[in-house]
């Protein structure tokens, strides 16, 4: 089954996506487009459904209703080999990194190539070294995930997410649990790899407003819907009261720290 790449401007289009867990409706009709080659950052209060939404894009979770069109293919009803082919277009960086702790960094990063391709050993070694260099982890090939710092684990996980050269990268809170001085470094790395590999990136983040600097577009998720979405300038110019309250809440939270210590 051939999956054609459509020529439209959007890598992913989501329409009226709904998902309920028990009595709670987490996604209440999500509509959004993800333009190709751009970073779209999804922000919103905790528990608004950001991670759940992200996990629907590569069908880790299935919606109750609604459509997701990835590169021109309606993916919500796919199964088997066709679904695998869609999933191979995605790289995903999990919140915890999700490195296999039984394997050293080299095997973790090489894993998708070893399992899903017929590449020779020399080719795999070359690609893993190239990717580890791109994320700044040269010389760490033989370390186990438990021997790495949180930031290094995220870098290794990013290398693994990109090794099979996906067109779309999804990042679920890549800076959670990191030292504040490392957050900027991970943001810069996300931006540089996105540009280097010309990726469409979907980023879920809590780091407002810092994350806006690396984002092309912002989606503000609130109560199971995309309340606002557009370019950074459009969203900030919208003067939406809820969004501004959300930003202010975040900002005042950060300002309390020097006040408390002073």
């Amino acid at each position: 089954m051939a999956i054609e790449r459509n020529g439209g401007p959007n890598a992913i289009e989501v329409r009226e996506l709904r998902r309920r867990f028990g009595a709670q409706e987490v996604l209440r009709g999500v509509d959004i487009d993800f333009p190709r080659g751009q970073i779209t950052t999804i922000v919103g209060p905790s528990g608004c459904g950001k991670t759940v939404f992200l996990k629907h894009l590569n069908l880790l979770l299935r919606p109750d209703s609604g459509r997701i069109v990835t590169e021109g293919i309606e993916v919500t009803a796919l199964g088997g080999r066709a679904l695998d082919m869609v999933r191979e277009k995605f790289g995903m960086l999990f919140q915890s990194g999700a490195l296999f702790d039984s394997m050293p960094v080299f095997d973790n990063v090489a894993f998708p190539l070893v399992e899903k391709t017929h590449l020779g050993r020399a080719e795999i070694v070359a690609r893993v070294h190239e990717m580890l260099a791109a994320v700044g982890l040269q010389g760490m090939e033989n370390k186990y995930p438990s021997e790495l710092s949180g930031g290094m684990q995220k870098r290794a996980a990013l290398a693994r997410a990109l090794i099979h050269r996906p067109g779309i990268l999804m990042l679920d809170e890549p800076t959670t649990g990191l030292d504040p001085t490392r957050i900027g470094a991970i943001h810069a790395l996300v931006r540089s790899t996105q540009q280097h590999f010309a990726l469409t990136a979907v980023l879920v983040s809590h780091d407002v407003p810092d994350v806006f600097e690396i984002s092309d577009r912002i989606a503000f998720m609130h109560q199971g819907r995309m309340r606002l979405h557009g370019t950074v300038a459009e969203v900030t110019a919208a003067h939406d009261e809820t969004f501004e309250r959300f930003l202010a809440g975040k900002a005042s939270g950060e300002e309390e720290i020097p006040a408390a210590t002073g």
Partner: protein
Amino acid sequence: MALLVGWIERQGALIIDGIAILGNFFIFLFAALFYIVVPPFKPRLAIRQIRIIGAESTFLILLIGTFTGMVLGLQGYNTLRRFESEGALGTVVALTLVRELGPVLTALMIAARAGSAMAAELGSMQATEQVDALTVMAINPVQYLVSPRVIAGLVSFPLLTAIFDVIGILGGYVIGVDLMGAPGSSYLNGIAQNVDAHDIATGIYKSLVFGLVVMWVCCYKGYHAERMATGVSRATTEAVVMSSVLVLVWDYFLTSILL
């Protein structure tokens, strides 16, 4: 009236939930077995599990087998002497081991040693999103994680049971014959004459069924652990308890069928 309807509804919900859990439990087994025969085949994963579940349990099985045989030799000798039939000691030790204690104790020991570790490993992989990571790489996690362990169980259990039986018979010989003075030639001749292929086959069938049950339960419990530390510990406990209970229950039914 409304009270009664409510009560009936709750009982119904309990029964439906129970059936759903049982259904998931069996679907999990069928998926694991199905993916054994469907490509891509990954023999190195199964071999690695055979090493972890099987080869690395050998010392434990040798130890438990030796002491089980020794205690059978001691108890058997003292009991048989009352009837002046010490010559039957070999037959008693061998049949007890081959038909019952070999498969059952091997299964219980591997459930405790490898089954608990497996449930904890799969549970923590689930908790740290490593299972999701496999799925997004378009690798079927049941095929990658569970099927190789089921294969390893089916290969390892009969082999470890055979080791247990042999070392147990030797342990019984050392105590019964060398220490207590039962006649050595009748110990060995008794085994040769009275333990037939059917007895050995019974033990092998049992160990195959136990291998499947232990791997199935321990993988299921780990794979479906709640995604937190307490979920993993609960899954580990439940895996060992449930697989041990099922081994003993199945042992009764298999014995009554195969006898």
